[in-house]
Amino acid sequence: MTRSPAAEPNEESVYAGLVDVDGDASQWAFGAGFDDPLAGVDTTVPAGLDRTDLAAYCLMLGDDALVLAQRLAEWCSRAPELEEDVALANISLDLLGQARLLLARAAAADPRSVPELPPDSPVPAEDALALFRDPGGFRNVALAEIPNGDFAQSSLRLLLFSVWRLALLERLRASADPVLAAVAAKGVAEVAYHRDYAARWTVTLARGTAESRRRTRAGAEAVWPHAAELFAADPVELRMAGAKAGVSPEEVRPACEEVLEEVLAAADLPRPDLAAPTRVRGRAGEHTPALAALLAEMQSLAREHPRGTW
């Protein structure tokens, strides 16, 4: 038995708060009243930085995050356990947050990157880019877009993706573009957790039961063929690296190999070949059929209401 606490929520005062319709309801919406991740950051594009390249580069990193966030959200209400449902939603939300900042940066750096909408459309640039761009305009790697498969395949994809993205973001903290540097600084802590989560599940499933081991090996067969693309540099990435604003993915390959080696040795799983010829060049707008299907669903409602306000 415990004594009633003195300060309990008062029923009547809670109701009073609810009927207060005169207040500014927008203050209750997520995205307003929260800390602005770019607060205090100078958002002018540094002199000498090519704006088209900066926009294209932000789209690459932003699309990777957006498309994988969409895939991870498919797990919502379908995960093997409630704890996993919550964790996967967290990871999806982190990546969605990164995507929004990066797409907004792309639009600011080069407004021509944003699809044209009716002149009276209130759709913000981040949504025009995410929801009104055709598949060929997307610059994400195929690893982000391939279907989830089962929980083992999803864990392996997340492992590979976050090992790679963490290595990129760690270096991008020193980007000559202050916005990219700020996004990277925030993203490093997030993606370090994603990597840890995926690594723990990879080892657990690979060493759990005969069934989970069989599924984990099948997952590796589905995911590993998309590893080499991550490290094949696109000309935009090379130019951005040359301008000290981006990172060449070739540069992070040894570090990624080392981390993967450690996790996959603990899991006793085969390693992906990071130097194999690439099958798809997502950075150039080439994609597997899975992307068009993903986007058709993701964009359907927004495209029905090009003048809608949400």
């Binding site: 038995m1 415990t2 004594r3 009633s4 309990e8 929520p9 029923e11 809670v14 109701y15 609810l18 009927v19 319709v21 005169d22 309801a25 927008s26 209750w28 919406a29 997520f30 959200a73 498919e74 919502c76 209400s77 379908r78 995960a79 093997p80 356990e81 409630l82 704890e83 449902d85 919550v86 939603a89 939300l93 969605l96 947050g97 995507a99 929004r100 797409l103 913000p124 981040e126 949504d127 929801l131 089962d150 929980f151 989560y197 723990r200 599940w201 657990t204 499933l205 060493r207 759990g208 989970s212 599924r215 669903e297 993701m298 409602l301 927004a302 209401h305 003048r307 809608g308 949400w310």
Partner: protein, 326 residues
């Protein structure tokens, strides 16, 4: 002459009644009457199941949210519902049942969840309406439970009510924004309110005259107001919000009654309510099938986590140490 065991039981009962009378909290290790324990298990489990099934109607829109900001808001909200389910399953586990068993009872239909989640969500406005009306009705039901006589439940409810109130504001803000949008968007909002108003009123349960368990639950301090009292409170609270929004509530009998100091309103279709509870609502089968599929598809993962944790107690994912739950 009374047997010693009966004397003992009588004394425990008297102590329990005194705790309730003083409005103190009953805690998991305290003695409690078997009826109290059973009623609480049913009540908290139903609430937990409602949170988990409640992820589906709105969750169906996450992939198609019309802006990235709305996608983030919606995913975070549905994630909160999973979190609420977790707190509540933990609270009910203190009464000696476990989550795997409760999940089994949910997917076999042995335990119920709120019948509101058996209605479909054909439009994005439904995301806003569920926040405004369904979460609003849930808050009316749940705020008094922050003073439930059972400690773990009352503490879980304090946290849940704070988040629900946030969700209600978000839902209302979505509708407000859509009402400022295009003609089609305004029509979507009105259509959605038309579909959800009566089911929301049913969330308070049958009229007091047909609610046999209410009196005992109120005596035990695990229910604080009758169904009709809460329904009235909800109507009074919602009418000015509907006015501010610019929508019409679909009830021709809805009118302010100055003598009562409350709104008069029409009678929900209690036959429909009974049908939906019995399993014959528009989405009952789909909701249970979705939950069952997720549970069955995840069985091999839970088994793997349990097997791994048994061999490596320190190195498993946090959830895995819960051990192979059914």
């Amino acid at each position: 002459m009374t047997a010693p065991a009966a004397v003992d039981e009588e004394r425990l009962n008297a102590e329990f009644d005194a705790v309730i009378a003083r409005q103190d909290r009953v805690e998991p290790r305290d003695w409690m009457p078997e009826g109290y324990r059973k009623t609480l298990i049913r009540q908290i489990a139903q609430h937990a199941h409602s949170e988990i099934i409640g992820m589906q109607p709105e969750g169906a829109w996450i992939s198609r949210a019309p802006s990235l900001r709305r996608k983030a808001i919606l995913l975070a909200k549905v994630q909160d519902e999973a979190g609420h389910g977790l707190y509540l399953y933990s609270a009910v586990e203190t009464l000696g049942v476990d989550r795997a068993d409760l999940t089994r009872r949910l997917i076999t239909g042995a335990q119920k969840y709120s019948s509101i989640f058996n209605y479909p969500t054909p439009s994005y406005a439904d995301v806003g309406t569920i926040g405004w009306l369904v979460d609003g009705a849930a808050i009316c039901n749940q705020v008094p439970l922050c003073r439930s006589s059972y400690g773990p439940y009352s503490r879980a409810m304090i946290r849940i009510c704070k988040e629900e109130s946030f969700h209600q504001r978000q839902g209302y803000e979505l509708l407000m924004t859509m009402m400022r949008g295009t003609r089609e968007q305004r029509a979507m909002v009105q259509d959605s309110v038309d579909r959800w108003w009566w089911p929301s009123l049913m969330m308070f349960g049958p009229p007091d005259a047909d609610s046999p368990n209410t009196a005992q639950s109120m005596r035990w301090g695990i229910k604080r107001h009758t169904n009709d009292e809460l329904r009235q409170r909800f109507v009074d609270m919602t009418v000015p919000q509907a006015d501010a929004l610019g929508v019409t509530l679909p009830d021709p009998r809805l009118a302010w009654n100055p003598e009562r100091g409350h709104h008069d309103f029409g009678e929900p279709d209690w036959d429909e309510f009974a049908r939906v509870i019995k399993g014959d609502g528009p989405c009952n089968a789909e909701r249970i099938a979705h939950r069952r599929r997720a549970h069955e598809d995840g069985a091999w993962v839970r088994e793997a986590a349990a097997a791994f944790a048994a061999r490596n107690p320190a190195g498993a994912p946090a959830a895995a140490t819960r051990g192979g739950r059914g």
